[in-house]
């Protein structure tokens, strides 16, 4: 992950720098595109589903190539079927299927067709040699035709089997049909399709893959026994979406190489959308990309949000305007307040000095991130095995609470330490070993690693000494701790000191605004949209959109629709059209010298717009009334 290909970035940077006049904007744009590409590559190259995909390919190879050996199955006309359990996060499935298709086409067979329930009437032409034409006609009794076409001769329905057996086509290659969303298929169509395929499975080795979002029993719900007995089903489980999210989190958020950071609130919004609404990792990544876009757009200093060397370089060449912007950053102002008075004056007046200090602060920020993540992982590995997970089950929860506030001041942290203080020796040693492993792999914080290994050594050296139970009892009575307990409390204190030193909240770091995107409100407004609320807001406060001040009352200057809307809020379930018109005319006539002739027409148009927006509908109860469709009002 570390090889962020600096050379490549350098070239692309200079190339586009020539084309864009403003070097600063261009630098942020470049960084943005680079990071965006990085996110994309990380998510696409995801090896998470590799295991299940490989086992699927293995399954297809086994059945496709070795089906002649399995005599019995041939006779029973069973079609090998893989039921792929994907979970309910439907937006993510497309990626899995794409990689599955590619994998199968590369390694097993070129004849892979994937079918979507919605495109049932579509035609699929994937391969020049064999065109499998699946015409799934979604009508009550209509069925599916499979037409195998050879490269030279176009032979239609009844001859296809002969043509295949007579041709020089490698017989053993299976035909894989992927049903992307099994639940959405019309079950009658599916049944007929399976019946027909099973008739020809001797000549044309079919293999099905069902993409199932809910549970395997969906197969039994959709297919009767006479059909499902034609299938030889094997179940494959893909990774759950929470595991997928955790790996994306590890790669993109808990990674010091990735310069763009999210504040705790923003993470909470994104994770909230994931857990509460869709379970979709794709949408999570999109949210991350969006917040990056917002950050680079709204924060001019985001040009400093890149790799360390480049950040230092651009800090050296800060423009006067940007130096001023730095002075106005809240975190920088806090930093200035802590300095000596003389230094304060320097910082507030001398631009060059600010630039130098800024470089130092950026270095510190990078160092903070470098140390932060290993220690966070260590703490998580220590606390994730505790009962009831006082600091959260997932590392993301721990991360959120760490960057939000001082972790050591929370109750949860106290209770976690309490639990750590009563760990048995072997548990403690195992946990510390895990921490040592984490630190070893990162190759920083060597002194911490040394101390940890020292503790582990001392703990192991205790072996055998503290076995005398009688002594222990004695010590308990006198409230004296045995050597293990002494050592354990030392270890816990050491861990506590690490937490206090390295897991400080990000907001306290000077210049954190450069890297951290924190406007969670904007994100929520954009990603978790409420169409009805915004329509109502637009109708009741039109001046918000027209950038004028709102008078609060119903004024005739507002668009007709808004006036009609506000008037209808004062009515009950049924609205008398005439009264409504009268009120409308009154409002309109309050304005000076308006053209009064067109009011009827304007009113009728506004009412029909209201109907179109779904606020009212005509009713049969009373001819001159309309019914309100929204709640509230009188």
């Amino acid at each position: 992950m570390g090889n962020c290909s600096n050379e490549h970035r350098g070239t692309s940077f200079s190339a586009s720098a020539a084309s864009l006049s403003n070097p600063l904007i261009c630098s942020s744009i470049n960084t943005f595109f680079f990071l965006d590409k990085y996110i994309f590559s990380q998510v696409i190259q995801d090896q998470l589903n590799k295991k299940v995909l490989d086992s699927l390919a293995e399954f297809i190879k086994k059945h496709g190539l070795g089906c002649s050996s399995d005599n019995w199955r041939q006779r029973a006309r069973e079609i090998p079927t893989a039921a792929l359990m994907l979970g309910v996060n439907v937006p993510d499935h497309a990626m899995t299927f794409r990689s599955l298709c590619n994998l199968l086409q590369d390694s097993v067979t070129p004849f892979v067709v994937s079918v979507h329930a919605k495109e049932c009437a579509g035609t699929f032409e994937r391969d020049p040699v064999l065109v499998i034409n699946l015409t799934l006609v979604c009508q009550a009794t209509l069925t599916i035709r499979i037409i195998g076409l050879l490269q030279k001769c176009t032979q239609v329905f009844p001859q296809r089997t002969e043509s295949l057996t007579n041709s020089d086509l490698p017989q053993s290659l299976p035909v894989v049909v992927i049903f992307k969303d099994f639940e959405a298929f019309n079950s009658q169509v599916l049944q007929d399709f399976i019946l027909i395929c099973s008739r020809y499975t001797q000549e044309l080795p079919f293999i099905f893959i069902f993409g199932i979002a809910t549970s395997p029993s969906a197969i039994q719900h959709r297919l009767p026994h006479s059909v499902s007995s034609l299938l030889c089903i094997e179940v494959f489980h893909s990774l759950s979406c929470t595991q997928h999210l955790a790996s994306v989190f590890d790669k993109l958020i808990l990674n010091s190489q990735f310069p763009f950071k999210l504040s705790s609130r923003v993470i909470q919004v994104l994770v909230g959308i994931f857990l509460y609404h869709d379970f979709s990792v794709q949408n999570f990544v999109k949210g991350l990309q969006f917040s990056m876009l917002e950050h680079f757009k709204s924060q001019p200093l985001s040009m400093l949000c890149c790799q360390k060397q480049e950040a230092l370089l651009s800090a050296k060449t800060l423009s006067k305007k940007n130096v001023e912007r730095i002075r106005h950053l809240p975190s920088f102002m806090r930093y200035v307040e802590t300095q000596e008075p003389q230094e304060q004056v320097q910082l507030l007046t001398n631009d060059e000095h600010v630039k130098e200090v800024c470089q130092q602060l950026l270095k510190n920020l990078h160092k903070y991130h470098k140390n932060y993540y290993p220690i966070l992982q260590c703490l998580h590995s220590l606390t994730s095995s505790l009962p009831k997970f006082p600091l959260g089950k997932h590392i993301r929860e721990l991360h959120v609470s760490c960057i939000e506030k001082n972790l050591w001041e929370t109750e949860e942290y106290d209770s976690a330490l309490q639990l750590l203080r009563i760990l048995a020796k072997d548990e403690l040693v195992a946990a510390l070993r895990k921490c040592a492993e984490i630190l070893k792999s990162t190759k920083i914080l060597q002194n911490v690693l040394q101390q940890l290994e020292d503790f582990i050594g001392r703990l192991e050296a205790l072996e055998g000494k503290s076995e005398t139970t009688l002594l222990e009892k004695e010590s308990r009575r006198t409230k004296r701790m045995n050597p293990y307990e002494v050592l354990r409390s030392q270890v816990i204190e050491f861990i506590d000191s690490l937490v206090r030193e390295y897991l400080t909240p990000a907001e306290l770091q000077p210049l954190n605004e450069v890297c951290y995107y924190s406007s969670s409100g904007v994100l929520r407004q954009r990603l978790n949209v409420t169409p009805r609320t915004s329509i109502q807001a637009a109708l009741s406060h039109p001046f918000y959109y027209f950038l004028k001040t709102d008078a609060g009352t119903i004024s005739s200057a507002a668009p007709d629709l808004c006036i009609v809307y506000k008037l209808h809020l004062e009515c009950g379930r049924l609205i008398n059209l005439y009264d409504w018109l009268e009120a409308f005319v009154t409002v309109m006539s309050a304005a000076e010298d308006q053209d009064t002739n067109s009011e009827d027409a304007r009113f009728i148009q506004a009412v029909s717009e209201m109907e179109f927006l779904g606020f009212i509908k005509s009713t049969k109860q009373k001819t001159d009334h309309v019914a309100r469709l929204t709640w509230g009002g009188c």
């Binding site: 309910v88 006609v137 001859q159 019946l195 027909i196 008739r199 179940v235 609404h277 009805r532 609320t533």
Partner: protein
Amino acid sequence: MSHQKSFQYADLLSVLERVVDIMSAPDQYSYPSVFIYGHRATGKSHVVLSIMKDLELPHASVDCVECVSSGLLFHQVLSAFFGPDAAALLPRCPSLSDFVRLYKQMSSNSPATQTRYIILDRAERMRDMDFSLLPALLRLQELVNDNVTVILLSEIVWEKFRPNTGCFEPLLFHFPDYSKGKSLVQILSWDHHPSYTPELYASYINILLGVFFSVCRDLRELRHLAVLNFSKFCEPLEKGEAKESDIHKLWKNIEPHLQRAMQTVYLREVSSVQWEQQQMDEKEATTLRVLSAHAHIELPYYSKFLLIAAYLASFNPARTDRRFFLKSHGKIRKTNFLKKHEKTSNHLLGPKPFPLDRLMAIFYSVVDSRVAPTASVFSQISSLVTLQLLSQVGHDDQLDSPKYKCSVSLDFILAISRCVCVCVRLLDLLALSLVIQSQVVRQERSLFTAVSNLHLL
């Protein structure tokens, strides 16, 4: 079934003899149409097709599932009798008269030296096709004036076919079910394993039938089971713990496995490979991991609540909503609180459709926190519909006030609310609505168990 039980293998033979009898004089005109019916896997198509093959009779075999239109049927028949060139002469959307005309034309060029047979498998599908097709095919011999016989194969009796305008009555044959005593054992013993003696396999089949015959008579299913479990049966032989003659020991070894396999008859949830793996792993895992063992479905948080709300809306009368979901509901007189038709349990009547507004109202009152009516909440409803957990009633294009039904079971909802419910209130709601219903129908035991489950929580 009871009168069919008495059928013996000999009966099947007599049926076969009669079928062959019809085909014995190929140069004479045969009976115009034959209708053969019998349960699944009684060998209808197999018998007919092998007779055709053995006697080398000219025939066209068509599976009616494939025939989206009658044109495809005509096409297949013509190309089987007169070659693909003849079939190519059919117009784009051939009608029955086109077919008859072409057939006549072709058969005058090459008149039948022996009876031609058209075999229509899964003939019950013909009923959904053009209404004139079936009566016409039944007397095709007259229409084309050729020596042709139509054989219809079906699982349904002839009475269900007969069109109300009347038609030519075909010759009926019934293929009886296999009896346990002889025929099933014989048929199943045919595919014995090459490395063991046929006697051993026959005794294995006897054991298998002893366990499964009471629940399953489908030959195909029994065959599947036989193959699945045979390796387990042979295990002691391979280990050298028992000899082939040691039937009792082998029986003791296989019996518990067969009992376990009994739970999954007809489900076909595991392939043979996975079954073998499970048999190997079973020492570690006590319970069988099977498909139908209600695999827990992971749902997003609000989807769970939406589903619970949908369930409540489907199974509670709308009149009771005020009582259940408002904190300060008005007093309701106990005596005629429920109307007479509402006194049958809603669980016996099935889910009722409810409008979207009601679903959302219940949803907002069930969820603890305030939920904004965001677009993603609404999109979750439609994704629940695609997952078949809810089903939309009426047309898909109904934009304003669409109606839904909840199509999941009580167990499923209980499982969901168990993992969502930190709040006791929701459980109370579920319990309350159930109690009210179960007060009315006391004999419905499942509800009581459900309620007691709730109390256990």
